[in-house]
């Protein structure tokens, strides 16, 4: 056995001590760096959330999840991100994971409550939210509560309540980007598009790369037929998110109106190759159909329009396109059939706009909400119909007609696509644009005055 002298023992001890220290230091550094990285990723997510940049928040949290899949806090943040971005099913899944991994119950409960509010069932959630606040809420919770309430009011067309809520929110934190975004949305819905444009521009003046504002501004400018500016905004969005279907659809439409048919077709085809929503895919088919129709290719145009109708049965432009192409091909019978459908959908859409306008004035008009649900059902928009029926229940829980309609939806759901229904899986609110639900200003309302 090796015998060590006292000097050597002392030296070895020093070396061991130093090594231990260095190892501890290295280990500590690794842990600290990992911790720093973790906090940085989480912080990035939070920053994106605070400024309403949901796309960036989703990217950030999903990156964090890859590194920390079993971290309760990350799962919780993911749930918050998904909920605020409107991806309620993903939010619910993440929340369940966070709970399983030991996230504190009160926070889970808050998120569930916010989801209910955000889905339009504001009255159900409000007492509990009030209680949470009374118990003491940090600023971020307050922001979330305001936001969920505004979204909930918007979904259920209680614009006046949404406006009140926004007023308090902005009085408390005037520069809150999310609040300005929603204010712009309300201006847009009441027909004051010019002010909505100014609101979006205000956000973009502070942060030219604010994706959500830029996209909304682009879409609004397109609606206003300011096509050159809209295309410029869509192109700007493209620098942030190269493959976002909403941008590609916007660019396809802009280029179509600008007469750049090649570009329009190229963007439309890109949408079809991607993973956009059915509505976005249908819009892309309509663009292609119209381009082919103008190019004197009625057969190819018919194919495109048919694809659009298969995806979204109530798309007026596609039925109109089919009327034209069948007529050009001499098939008057089919042409008339699609004309009648186009006419019916068009009239329904007009009625939807009228109801939305009336609801902006009198949100408590239960029968109008029922009628809207009925029209949406006729158009095959079951999820939206269901959403409107829930708003009826929030006002009149025993409403017989609404119950019957909801039962009918449930029956058809069971018959067609059995799916698990949770009390929080509520679809994201419609902005009204896709559905042509654009209310006009209403006399007597305390909403901001529109000049239209």
């Amino acid at each position: 056995m090796l015998r060590l002298t006292g000097t050597t023992r002392a030296r070895v001890a020093r070396i061991l001590l130093l090594s231990t220290f260095l190892a501890s230091l290295t280990l500590g550094s690794v842990v600290t760096l990992r911790q720093v990285r973790f906090w940085r990723l989480v912080s990035d997510t939070r920053v994106a959330l605070e400024t309403g940049e949901y796309r960036a928040a989703i990217q950030s949290v999903e990156k964090t999840l890859q590194g920390y899949p079993e971290n309760a806090e990350v799962r919780y943040v993911a749930a918050v991100v998904y909920r605020r971005a409107g991806m309620l099913n993903d939010a619910d899944r993440s929340l369940r994971e966070a709970s399983r991994l030991g996230c504190a119950d009160p926070r889970i409960e808050l998120q569930r409550c916010l989801t209910v509010a955000q889905s339009g069932r504001v009255d159900e959630a409000e007492p509990r939210l009030r209680e949470i606040i009374r118990g003491g809420a940090v600023d971020d919770d307050a922001h979330q509560i305001y936001e969920a309430l505004v979204k909930g009011y918007m979904v259920s067309y209680r614009l006046k309540d949404a406006w009140d809520c926004l007023e308090f929110w902005t009085a408390w934190r005037p520069a809150t980007t999310n609040a300005i975004l929603w204010r712009a949305e309300i201006y847009q819905r009441i027909g004051d598009s010019k002010t909505a444009v100014r609101e979006y521009e205000e956000i973009l003046a502070a942060n030219p790369n604010h994706f959500e504002s830029r996209l909304k501004l682009a879409e609004l400018r397109f609606e206003l037929r300011d096509v050159v500016a809209a295309r410029r905004d869509f192109e700007h969005c493209l620098t942030v998110a190269r493959d976002a279907p909403a941008i590609l659809v916007g660019l396809a439409k802009c280029n179509q109106l600008m007469g750049d048919t090649k570009q329009a077709a190229s963007f439309a085809e890109e949408v079809l190759a991607g993973d956009g929503t059915t509505r976005q895919q249908a819009d892309a088919w309509v663009v292609l159909g119209q381009l082919r129709s103008t190019a004197g290719q009625p057969e190819k145009a018919t194919d495109a329009f048919r694809h659009a109708v298969e995806l979204v049965p109530n798309i007026t432009e596609a039925h109109h396109g089919l009327t034209q192409t069948y007529s050009a091909m001499g098939n008057k019978e089919l042409a008339e059939q699609h004309w009648k459908t186009a006419l019916q959908v068009s009239q329904q859409n007009i009625r939807i706009s009228e109801i939305a306008s009336a609801l902006a004035k009198n949100p408590a008009e239960i029968e109008l909400r029922c009628e809207l649900a009925r029209i949406l059902l006729q158009q095959g928009r079951r999820e939206e119909a269901e959403r409107w029926l829930w708003t009826v229940f929030s006002l009149a829980p025993e409403h017989a007609a609404a119950q019957q309609l909801l039962a009918a939806i449930a029956q058809s759901d069971l018959a067609e696509t059995p799916a698990a229904v949770t009390n929080v899986e509520v679809p994201e609110p419609s902005t009204g644009q896709d559905d042509q639900v654009v209310p006009t200003p209403t006399p007597g309302s305390e909403l901001p005055e529109s000049s239209k």
């Binding site: 906090w39 939070r46 920053v47 605070e50 919780y76 943040v77 918050v80 009255d123 939210l129 009030r130 809420a137 940090v138 600023d139 971020d140 919770d141 307050a142 922001h143 509560i145 009140d164 809520c165 308090f168 027909g191 598009s193 010019k194 942060n207 030219p208 790369n209 206003l224 037929r225 096509v227 050159v228 295309r231 192109e235 700007h236 179509q256 109106l257 600008m258 007469g259 048919t261 119209q290 381009l291 129709s293 103008t294 004197g296 432009e317 109109h320 396109g321 009327t323 034209q324 007529s327 050009a328 008057k332 042409a335 008339e336 004309w339 068009s346 006399p443 007597g444 000049s451 239209k452």
Partner: protein
């Protein structure tokens, strides 16, 4: 109601600052390290220099006239939004186109209407005019007037004209001595509806000019709802959707100075909110069809069976609605052959945010809405288009477009009340908006009626434009003079004005088609002579006239830069040059 107001008032903890870096803690300023992107550096569309050029010479020409809409009464009637039209007519037969302007009217506080006299201006040559309303005995102030539809309906060689308006029409018969006589009642042209832009045409093929009258809506002082302006107590003019549409009417010419109103068998639709109309042979079957521009409802295409019975085929023909499949607010219309394929295309001026409609004729009465591919949807600004004309204004061989614009309500939101006129230069593959730095076209107006006419007989088409409560404009065409040809048709077997004729000019560069139409534009009648611009160095090879009677006349060795007067003469060829 549990509003957020009550929620927040009871929530002081909202103001508590959270823990820094808490997962759900309060925010900090966003850390944005990315450089901002220059959003102004998008693609800039440079417009080509255009030859289209107009100069307002109204003040120097002696044409001083203003259409009055009675808006000063403050009653905000939809009546005020329509405006008045312009008629181009050579009423004294001196070869110079004279002008007639509808006067409009007054809206009295006690909810009564009265008319204002029209303005009739005799062309003295070199763009000098003399007001002759009194001398011509056309002073009348009963009818609140809108449109002027010119035609020699009694085939006596002198231009007559019909004035449309609210609750009646006036038919002014040219006496041939510089005066007119109102014969509406005597001619059984009694129309108590709200008439707008009538079209003269031989609709039953008997060689006489019949009358199609589009009607607008059922507004009256008894049906005059309050429509809210930007503020709830602020009244604005109601949109057409507030009213029911009125059925249009046809009056068949009995060839004895009277007319008979067509019955249900004519096939006209029971509704529609007609503002513009156009009579021409759209399906190339030898009879005259009718296109009606309706305001916010589907436009009509009445296909004629040749006997004055019509089938409405707007939807199936593709000309009823815009590309979105929804009806537009259509006002002004014109016929053209913008792509020189020999098929008559249709141009429609619409409301703001609705693309102006360019419908390309694909044959067999099928049209395609091609506004997108032709650059029409890429226009800067939003327009509410009214009077319009499609013609070769710059004499380069293709047809360009002009539109008089202006809003219809008092408190418009997106586009202003006064709007720039629109000039669209045909570049072959697409139309380009012409930007003008000065003069009439650089200033906004509340434009309404527009008539294109060669007022100085220099071979290019000038413009007369009526506005709401603003003096009329007389725009001299100052585009560089190119080669041209003008043809005046005189029908014998056909109606004397040759409405419904198709002219085909074969040149060394291709074939150019023109159509003699009834109606067109908005509340207005343009020069009935047919004009071509012919590129320099281009040789005219042949002119073929397809008369409404079915006769065909061919002329060869036609020299450019002058006007031909061509009298219908059966199978033999005959041309009179002036």
């Amino acid at each position: 109601m549990n509003s957020p107001r009550s929620l927040v008032r009871s929530s002081p903890p909202f103001m508590i600052v959270g823990i820094v870096l808490s997962l759900c803690g309060c925010g900090r300023s966003p850390d944005i390290n990315e450089p901002p992107v220059d959003v102004t550096s998008g693609p800039i569309t440079e417009l080509p220099t255009s030859q289209l050029k107009f100069e307002d010479v109204a003040a120097d020409s002696g044409v001083r006239f203003t259409f009055r809409n009675g808006g000063e009464s403050g009653q905000c009637t939809i009546l005020e939004s329509l405006g008045g039209g312009v008629g181009a007519l050579d009423f004294d037969g001196d070869g110079l186109v004279d002008l007639c302007f509808a006067g409009g009217g007054k809206i009295h506080k006690e909810q009564r209407l009265s008319g204002l006299p029209m303005g009739l201006f005799r062309n003295l040559g070199e763009l000098s005019f003399q007001q002759v309303t009194d001398q011509a005995m056309t002073v009348r102030d009963e009818l609140y007037t809108h449109g002027v539809a010119v035609a020699d309906y009694n085939q006596d060689g002198f231009c007559d004209f019909l004035v449309s308006g609210y609750g009646a029409m006036e038919c002014w018969e040219n006496q041939g001595d510089g005066t007119f006589r109102e014969v509406g009642e005597a001619a059984d042209l009694v129309d108590s509806s709200w008439s707008t832009s009538p079209s003269w045409a031989d609709l039953n093929g008997d060689g006489n000019l019949d009358l199609f009258v589009p009607h607008y809506v059922n507004w009256s002082f008894q049906n005059h709802p309050f429509c809210e302006g930007p503020k709830s107590d602020q009244r604005d003019i109601c949109p057409p959707k507030s009213f029911e549409g009125n059925a249009d009417a046809i009056y068949f010419n009995n060839a004895d100075g009277t007319f008979s109103k067509g019955d249900e068998s004519t096939g006209l639709q029971p509704d529609g909110k007609g503002l513009g109309s156009l009579a021409a042979d759209f399906d190339n079957d030898g009879d005259v069809d009718i296109y009606v521009a309706n305001d916010t409802t589907d436009n009509f295409l009445y296909i004629n069976d040749g006997s004055g019975k019509f089938e409405e085929l707007g939807i199936l023909s593709g000309v009823a609605v815009g590309a979105r499949g929804t009806p537009d607010g259509s006002m002004g219309v014109d016929i053209c052959d913008f792509n020189s394929d020999g098929r008559p295309d249709i141009w429609v001026a619409n409301y703001e945010r609705e693309a102006f409609g360019l419908y390309r004729n694909e044959g067999n009465a099928v049209f395609l809405h091609v506004s997108q591919s032709m650059g029409i949807t890429a226009l800067e600004h939003l327009f509410v288009g009214f009077g319009t004309a499609v013609a070769d204004f710059d004499q380069d061989g293709d047809e360009d477009i002009v539109v008089a614009n202006g809003h219809v309500i008092l408190f418009p939101y997106l586009a202003p009340r006064r709007q720039l006129p629109l000039l669209l230069d045909n570049l072959g593959r697409r139309f380009e908006q012409v930007r003008v730095a000065r003069g009439y076209c650089a200033a906004p107006h509340e434009g309404r009626g527009l008539a294109a006419a060669d007022l100085d007989n220099d071979g290019d088409l000038d413009l007369a434009i009526s506005h709401l409560n603003e003096p009329v404009a007389l725009l001299r065409n100052d585009a560089p003079q190119g080669q041209w040809l003008a043809v005046k048709l005189v029908g014998t077997s056909s109606n004397r004005d040759a409405i419904g004729a198709r002219l085909v000019l074969q040149t060394s560069e291709g074939v150019l088609h023109r159509y003699v139409k009834g109606g067109g534009s908005y509340l207005s009648s343009g020069d009935r002579r047919v004009y071509w611009g012919i590129g320099s160095g281009v040789i005219i090879e042949q002119l073929t006239v397809h008369w409404p009677s079915g006769q065909e006349q061919i002329l060869t060795n036609v020299a450019p830069n002058h006007q031909l007067t061509l009298v219908e003469s059966g199978p033999s060829k005959s041309a009179e040059t002036r």
